[in-house]
């Protein structure tokens, strides 16, 4: 019988590597966009190199994030063989891990969907560029958190351990908010979300000019 932990390791490496690559490329795009806005074409060879890297980053972000999300979903499936649902439902750390992995998948999916709808324009329009950076950034933060929790569950030492210690975060205790807070939060998110969508066209005018944020 094949050990499912081997498959789980492979899928972890797949999404860990792919999403890191996507995050690095998002970082390059952000630097390029800001450089362009502040310094324009100044910067000589470095600027030219940055421009080129930014150009290559555009398709890389899309491909790497798609591979990453596929890896995330596959690692969820392989992980469910390692820890059965009934066991996970009783374990605070397992529920934290599943929840964080779902958050990561959702935000990366938002970034991929935006990218697929607007293609290269996604990085040219300021509004969509903000959505891409925000969702990709959140997705990556959740991916790292998920990796750290997974490592701890596997009995390994997580590189983020000093960070958790500094923040006073206990990975083994439940991260579920109380019912009262959740009800209030759900109401606030729903109202703010509907308002955001309803006024998004108006907001688009406030956020950005027609001028392209990147060349």
């Amino acid at each position: 019988m094949v050990d499912m932990s081997s498959f789980h390791s492979v899928t972890i490496e797949l999404h860990g590597g792919a999403l890191t690559l996507a995050a690095i490329c998002i970082g390059i795009k952000v630097i390029d966009i800001f450089w362009n806005r502040v310094l324009g074409d100044r910067g000589g060879k470095f600027r030219q190199g940055l421009k080129k890297a930014s150009e290559y980053s555009t398709p890389t972000i899309l491909l790497a994030s798609i591979f990453g999300v596929v890896g995330l979903v596959l690692s969820g499936i392989t992980g469910s063989y390692l820890i059965p649902v009934e066991t996970a439902a009783k374990s605070p750390i397992a529920l934290n891990k599943i929840m964080i992995a779902i958050f990561a998948t959702e935000f990366w999916t938002v970034m991929i969907a935006t990218n697929l709808i607007f293609w290269e324009e996604a990085w040219i329009r300021r509004q969509t560029a903000i959505v891409m950076v925000m969702s990709g950034g959140l997705g990556y933060v959740f991916s790292i958190m998920g990796g750290s929790i997974g490592g701890t569950m596997g009995g390994k030492v997580s590189i983020l351990e000093p960070v958790w210690e500094l923040l006073g975060v206990d990975l083994h205790s439940s991260w579920i908010l109380s019912s009262e807070i959740l009800v209030a939060l759900a109401a606030i998110v729903t109202v703010v979300g509907i308002l955001l969508v309803a006024y998004s066209v108006k907001l688009a005018e406030i956020v950005g000019s027609v001028r392209k944020v990147s060349d």
């Binding site: 009783k90 959702e106 709808i117 959505v131 759900a186 979300g193 066209v201």
Partner: protein, 329 residues
Amino acid sequence: MNREIKHYGLVVALLLVCLGLLTTSLEAYSGGWQDGDTDYNCGTSCHQGGLNQGAGTIDVVLDTPSVLSGQTLTITVNVTETQLGTDRLVGVFLLSSKTGSGDHPSSQGWTITQDPNGGTVNYVEKESPGSGETVSFKWTLKAPLAWGDYELFVRVHHGSLAKNPLWEDHSGSISVEVTPLPAGTPEIDHQAVSLGYIGENTPIEAYVVNATRVVLNWRVAGEIQYNSSEMTNTTEVSDGGWKFEGEIPAQSSIAQVEYFIVAYHELNGDPIQADTSVYTISIEPKPEVPNTTAWTIQIIIVSEIALFILIAGVRMGKARGKKEDEQNG
């Protein structure tokens, strides 16, 4: 075109180098990094074990040099170190040979009924108490059915940050004589209990053949006297055996409770008895049961946030695109 391909190749190569650098910290840990059923070679060659370094001594104590076939004995391993490494872990293997592979005690017919950390595995890690201090590991084993002379070994594995074990020491062979079970002797088949919860009685079960009376003895670790209570035979099982059930009373705080079972029988007017080894139960606070409904709602709320971001982002992007088209005529 060629120039473009060259550029793409260069970027891909650079990215591969970056990814390679990111993976330098990946190591194979399975089997060696935590408690598990592990051959000595597998636990020390390609896998890491407890990270300690330096010399030390191993002292092994058997509770009995001879055991009845199918009955239990206890091996206590005391490890004392003179130097400590970064992770302050001591990893100890209980083995049936020094061959390095196929050396799990089960290969000789032994069954580990309780390991030092409450599991049933042959490789266990514990935190080191410090230089010159002794850390104890206690295994309880069920003897093979085939009688004869057996040997067991203990090996201690201390690695280093350089992944090269600096100290791998082993005990001398531990000889155990497994003798045949005299006719009429009670046979106890018991699955050790290693965990109990504060405020709850801990149920104990045993399947016993040839017994007229079965007694559960228990005490909080450190106490001198054992408390005793008779176990009740509840269900008849095959081979004329019975399932006996008993309970260790609830504890009010974190504790280590030790217990053993004794089965009594009379043969031709002579009383005979059999007992298990002493097992240890860790009494701990009952773990909190997560509220999965609230957990699901929490996920739905964050999904809602992601969805609103997507819809608003798309509407904003499309609105700007439309305006741009209008301005461009």
